[in-house]
């Protein structure tokens, strides 16, 4: 990650404070990411609308809302953010189904391996940035095309 690139923002949602603390500590040690944590998906949704972020890791089983529903809402707020589901073994089937139905990037099983989750997050961010770059390029192409069209229009005007 080059110095010129902006700091990626990671959002972690889990009703268990210990999970949030563990993941935050690990990511702070090993990465430069800005880590934002919420212990309630409802609360997260309220605040995420007002800020930008690049990747969301969400627990599946939570009291007020399950992780799949939450990530579906996240998609509506930020379509390009990468979404990862953190799930217990018992919910694996649900998670796999959700990946197809909701279009999740990946799921991570609890108990997780730090290296694995880091790799998944890095890949997810890369995808996120590639998507962003792709979008940027498309926008550039579109703007160039617009410019070209403007110039063309001016030329046509000039000739007329």
């Amino acid at each position: 990650m080059s110095e010129t690139e902006r700091v990626p923002v990671i959002v972690i949602v889990d009703d268990e404070e210990m999970v949030l603390t563990s993941l935050r500590s690990f990511l702070m040690l090993e990465t430069e990411y800005e880590v934002v944590t919420y212990n309630s998906p409802q609360q997260a949704l309220k605040q995420l609308g007002d800020r930008s972020f690049d990747l969301v890791v969400s627990d599946y089983l939570m009291p007020d809302m399950n992780g799949i529903d939450f990530l579906l809402e996240v998609k509506k707020l930020h379509p390009f953010a990468t979404r990862i589901l953190l799930t217990g073994y018992a919910d694996k089937e649900n998670a796999i189904k959700a990946i197809n139905d909701v279009g999740l990037y990946q799921y991570v099983e609890k108990p997780w391996n730090n290296d694995d989750i880091l790799l998944t997050i890095q890949n997810g961010l890369e995808r996120r940035f590639l998507m962003e770059k792709l979008e940027e390029k498309i926008r550039e192409v579109q703007s160039v095309q617009q410019n070209l069209q403007d110039i063309q229009a001016q030329i046509i005007k000039a000739f007329i």
Partner: protein
């Protein structure tokens, strides 16, 4: 005509007449007397009296009317009597109000020569047999009136005289005793015939009877009579049975002892059952001995009912019953085994659920510790590297990674502690739930059990079901905690499965008198009324093959029963179901708790 001669002639004639009368009387007495010797037959005696009366009194008709024997003093109007007219058989006759009635009332001789003009007996004169005159005298024997001797219509212009009355009275007095004797004899014969008849009847009954009957005398208690069945039963000929004692021919010596005999003599029926081994095959006999009348005597009647066939059938039945019992036993064993298998399956299913619950609950703290261990390892590497570099305070300050590593140590340590505590709590819940070390009856707090169980099923409820707890003040109860927790587990899992989407489970504990209750209500789909009655039946399931064993609730029911408690269920389709576990408060633990 010399007067004395005439006189003496007259006297002689008179004397002669008297002599003749005396001779007549004597001849009558002689005739009647000889009749006594000649016959004891009543008909003949009466006929003789009638004939003698007609002949000696020179009348058209004579009749002997007899009151019923032994009823001479009875109400005349109801007294059946017998009468005999000359030349007719003795026929039944009712003493009436007229002539016979008068005679029965007055009991003195009656002489009427002009019946037509007699106010008393006008009706008699109009009878079929025209009576002009009559003479009636009572027949007496042993001072009692036994009947009347009547003569009718004197064949002489003068009618009946005092002389006639005297003569008839003599005939009456002479014949009364004869008649009475004949009647008594007649009666005796009648009685003896009746007795003979009854004896014959009894003998016929005895012989026709399918039971062996032996009659023994009351004195010597020796056998008087036996029937063919008795001969068949004992295998002894009749002549060898007669004269012996009952105990000598049948294996019932008690029948010969005085005590038993006394009971029979008092009218008691003595019953004895015995096995008779004489003869070809052993026979089983039910014997009853009673005192009965036989002819004029009383005898001991011994009836032997051969119950060998009955015993054989009973034996057969017993044998059959034993076979059935054995089969039932074998089937029961099979059933027990398959039941044990099913229960084992249910236990495995419950265990599976438990394991899933525990695994899920453990995932979070273990995941945390696992991650933290790795993070700590990395931090230690960073710290070690920083120390190896012969670091200065400045270099330390400027080492961002080192600072971060040092910074997170506290957090990680704190979180690890919390995670470990969580694991300890889960294991504690598991132990509390299973209470493997406490198979015996324990005094426990049901709410603790509910809490432990909730921990283990939390993952089933967590994201869609709200648990509302309303714990009352309840005394502790005596129970097998692992079993009661199994009930909670079952009810809670059922409740969560009944709720298809989101919903609520309400858990309420309460006390009502000597009963402690735990009410678990869900806001689920409810149970249809037709199913509600079957939910506690073993093997009944609506969950489909492979999901439930159908034993969960039946086991809950059994557990509740084993604790002298019960499980009640109420349900409304679409609204939810409530299960209530009711357990008795132990008498020694009920004090002090809120009523």
């Amino acid at each position: 005509m010399p007067a004395p001669e005439t006189q003496s002639l007259e006297a002689l004639r008179e004397e002669n007449l008297q002599l003749r009368r005396a001779v007549e009387e004597l001849s009558i007495l002689n005739a009647i007397g000889s009749a006594i010797g000649s016959t004891m037959d009543l008909n003949e005696v009466v006929e003789l009296i009638v004939q003698e009366s007609v002949k000696n009194l020179n009348v058209e008709q004579a009749a002997v009317m007899l009151l019923k024997l032994d009823e001479e003093e009875a109400d005349p109007f109801r007294t059946m009597a017998r009468q005999a007219y000359s030349g007719s058989e003795i026929v039944p006759f009712r003493f009436g109000q007229q002539l016979t009635g008068w005679m029965l009332k007055h009991r003195i001789p009656l002489l009427i020569n002009d019946l037509q003009s007699d106010e008393r007996f006008r009706a008699v004169a109009n009878a079929e047999f025209p009576i002009r005159s009559l003479l009636s005298v009572p027949l007496r024997a042993q001072g009692k009136m036994v009947g009347l001797l009547n003569v009718f219509n004197k064949r002489a212009e003068a009618g009946f005289t005092a002389e006639d009355q005297r003569l008839l009275s003599i005939i009456a007095s002479q014949s009364s005793q004869v008649v009475q004797n004949a009647r008594l004899y007649d009666q005796l014969q009648q009685r003896s015939k009746e007795l003979q008849d009854s004896e014959t009847k009894y003998r016929a009954l005895m012989e026709e009877s399918s039971e062996a009957i032996l009659l023994a005398g009351v004195g010597q208690r020796r056998i008087l009579e036996v029937n063919d069945q008795a001969v068949r039963l004992t295998g002894l000929p009749r002549e060898r049975l007669i004269g012996r004692k009952i105990g000598g021919v049948l294996p019932v010596p008690e029948l010969d002892n005085d005590e038993t005999y006394g009971r029979i003599a008092r009218g008691e029926s003595v019953r004895v059952s015995f096995r008779f081994d004489e003869g070809n095959a052993p026979r089983y006999v039910d014997l009853s001995a009673t005192l009965v009348s036989y002819g004029e005597n009383r005898v001991i009647q011994v009836i032997c009912l051969d119950v060998t066939e009955r015993e054989r059938l009973a034996d057969h039945l017993r044998h059959h019953a034993e076979e059935l019992e054995a089969e039932v036993g074998a089937r029961t064993k099979d059933l027990r085994e398959s039941q044990a298998r099913l229960i084992q399956q249910e236990k495995m299913a419950a265990l599976g659920m438990l394991v899933a619950g525990i695994a899920h609950e453990m995932n979070t703290p273990i995941g945390t510790i696992n991650s933290n261990a790795d993070t700590l390892g990395r931090s230690i590497e960073i710290i070690k590297a920083a120390i190896d570099k012969e670091s200065t305070p400045d270099s330390v300050r400027s080492d961002t990674r080192l600072n971060r590593a040092l910074q997170l140590l506290d957090d990680i340590a704190g979180i690890n502690k919390i995670a470990c505590e969580r694991i300890v709590a889960i294991v504690g819940s598991l132990r509390n739930f299973a209470r493997l070390d406490e198979a015996e009856l324990q005094i426990v707090d049901l709410q603790e059990g509910i809490e432990s169980t909730l921990t283990l099923v939390r993952h089933e409820l967590k994201n869609r079901i709200q648990v509302v707890k309303e714990y009352g003040e309840i005394p502790r109860v005596r129970c097998h905690p692992n079993q009661i927790n199994q009930v909670f587990m079952n009810l809670l899992v059922n409740a969560s499965q009944a709720i298809k989407g989101e919903g609520e489970i309400a858990i309420k504990t309460f006390r009502k008198g000597d009963i402690v209750g735990v009410r678990i209500s869900d806001s689920g789909v409810g149970i249809p009324p037709e199913t509600l009655s079957k939910i506690f039946d073993p093997g009944f399931t609506t969950k489909g093959v492979g999901v439930g064993t159908g034993l969960g609730l039946s086991i809950c029911f059994k557990i509740a029963e084993d604790h002298d408690g019960s499980i009640e269920v109420e349900s409304e389709l679409g609204k939810g179901t409530t299960f209530t576990l009711l357990l008795p408060v132990p008498p020694d633990l009920g004090k002090g708790a809120a009523e």
